[in-house]
C-alpha cells in the first residue's frame, strides 16, 4: 500500500539560491507540500517577462530619512533597479507605476532623469495620485498614461523652517522650481506658460496655490499623453518593443 507522507517536519530552505537543477526539485516539493497541506495549487511556472515593473508609492525619499510613519520609496532602491533594467538584455521594456504624494526634489528628478535616459521603451501609469515631484517622474517615460480617477497636483515649491535672507531664499526657490518646470515642459506636450499658470493658479486649492488635474484634465493640458489603465499601458509598451525590434532587424 502506498502511504502519503506529509513532510511537516521538513523545513524548506527558504533563503537558498535557486541553483540550476536543484531549483525544480525544490519547487516541485514545495508545490506538493502546499497541495497536501492547504489543498492549494502553487502559481504556474511563468515564462521570463520581457517587461519589468517599477512601482513608486508614498513619499519619494531622498537625502533625508523621513520619520517611519511615512510610506516611502527610497531612491537608493530605485536607482540600482533602473541600472539593472538597462543592463539586462532579457528586459525589453519598463512599466513605471506611480501612486505618489511627491517628495524630495533631487531624488524625484534623479529618478526622472534615469527613466528618461533609459535606452529601452518606458511607459508610465499614474494611478491614484502623481502629485508634485511625481509629475516629472510620470512625464519622464516615453509615453504616459493616467487612470480616469487619478489626480495630479501642480503647485509651487515651498520652503519650511526659518528664512534667513529673503531675496536669496526667493531666488534659490525660483531656481529649484525652474528645474522642475524645465524638466516637465521638455518631456511633455504642455507649454511652460500653461504649466506656470496651473502652478500659480489661485482659488483651486484650499491651502495652496496650484491646480488639481483629474484624469482627462491632465491629458487635455498636455501633461500626460493618454487616459488609460493597465491593459492600455502594457499594450502600448509591447507595441513600442515590437516596433523597436522590427526597426533594429531591418
Amino acid at each position: 500500500m502506498m502511504r502519503l507522507e506529509t513532510p511537516f517536519e521538513e523545513p524548506l530552505p527558504d533563503a537558498e539560491p535557486p541553483a540550476p537543477g536543484r531549483f525544480n526539485l525544490r519547487r516541485a516539493r514545495m508545490a506538493l507540500r502546499s497541495l497536501r497541506q492547504l489543498g492549494q495549487m502553487s502559481p504556474p511556472e511563468t515564462p521570463v517577462s520581457p517587461i519589468h515593473c517599477l512601482t513608486i508609492v508614498g513619499q519619494i525619499e531622498g537625502h533625508l530619512v523621513l520619520p517611519p510613519k511615512n510610506k516611502t520609496t527610497k531612491y537608493e532602491h530605485i536607482i540600482p533597479q533602473l541600472v539593472a533594467v538597462e543592463q539586462n538584455p532579457h528586459i525589453k521594456g519598463l512599466l513605471v507605476i506611480l501612486n505618489t504624494v511627491g517628495g524630495d526634489v533631487e531624488a524625484g528628478l534623479a529618478i526622472a532623469e534615469m527613466i528618461d535616459s533609459l535606452s529601452k521603451p518606458t511607459v508610465s501609469l499614474v494611478l491614484g495620485g502623481g502629485h508634485s515631484i511625481g509629475g516629472p517622474v510620470a512625464v519622464a517615460a516615453d509615453y504616459s498614461f493616467i487612470a480616469e480617477t487619478a489626480t495630479m497636483t501642480i503647485h509651487p515649491l515651498r520652503l519650511a523652517g526659518t528664512l534667513i535672507g529673503v531675496p536669496q531664499t526667493y531666488e534659490y526657490l525660483e531656481k529649484m522650481q525652474d528645474r522642475v518646470i524645465k524638466f516637465v515642459t521638455q518631456h511633455a506636450k504642455i507649454t511652460e506658460e500653461k504649466f506656470r499658470e496651473l502652478m500659480f493658479r489661485t482659488g483651486d486649492l484650499v491651502r495652496d496655490l496650484g491646480t488639481v488635474l483629474v484624469g482627462a484634465d491632465a491629458v487635455a493640458c498636455g501633461l500626460i499623453d493618454e487616459v488609460g489603465g493597465l491593459s492600455q499601458a502594457v499594450r502600448k509598451l509591447e507595441a513600442m518593443i515590437a516596433a523597436r525590434s522590427s526597426g533594429s532587424a531591418s
Binding site: D14, Q59, L66, P67, N70, D104, G129, H131, H155
Partner: protein, 71 residues
Amino acid sequence: MLLYTVVPIEIVMAEDEAEKPPIEEEVALPGGIRVLIRPDGAGGGIITRLLSTDPRHFLDPRWSPGSRFRR
C-alpha cells in the same frame, strides 16, 4: 533638502514617540532579489516588502509579504 509634496510638512515630519514602528532590515537574496524584513531576533523575520522590478518574483509565495524568512 527640499520637499515637493502635497502632504503638509508638519505631517511628514511628525515623530510619534508613543508608537515606534518596528525596525525593518534589507536583505539581499541570491538571484538578485532584495526584500525588506521585520527581524524576529533569531536571524530570520517576516517579509514586509519585495524590492524587485521582475513581476515574476511577486508571484512566488516565498517572497510575498507576510511570509517567514529564515537565513
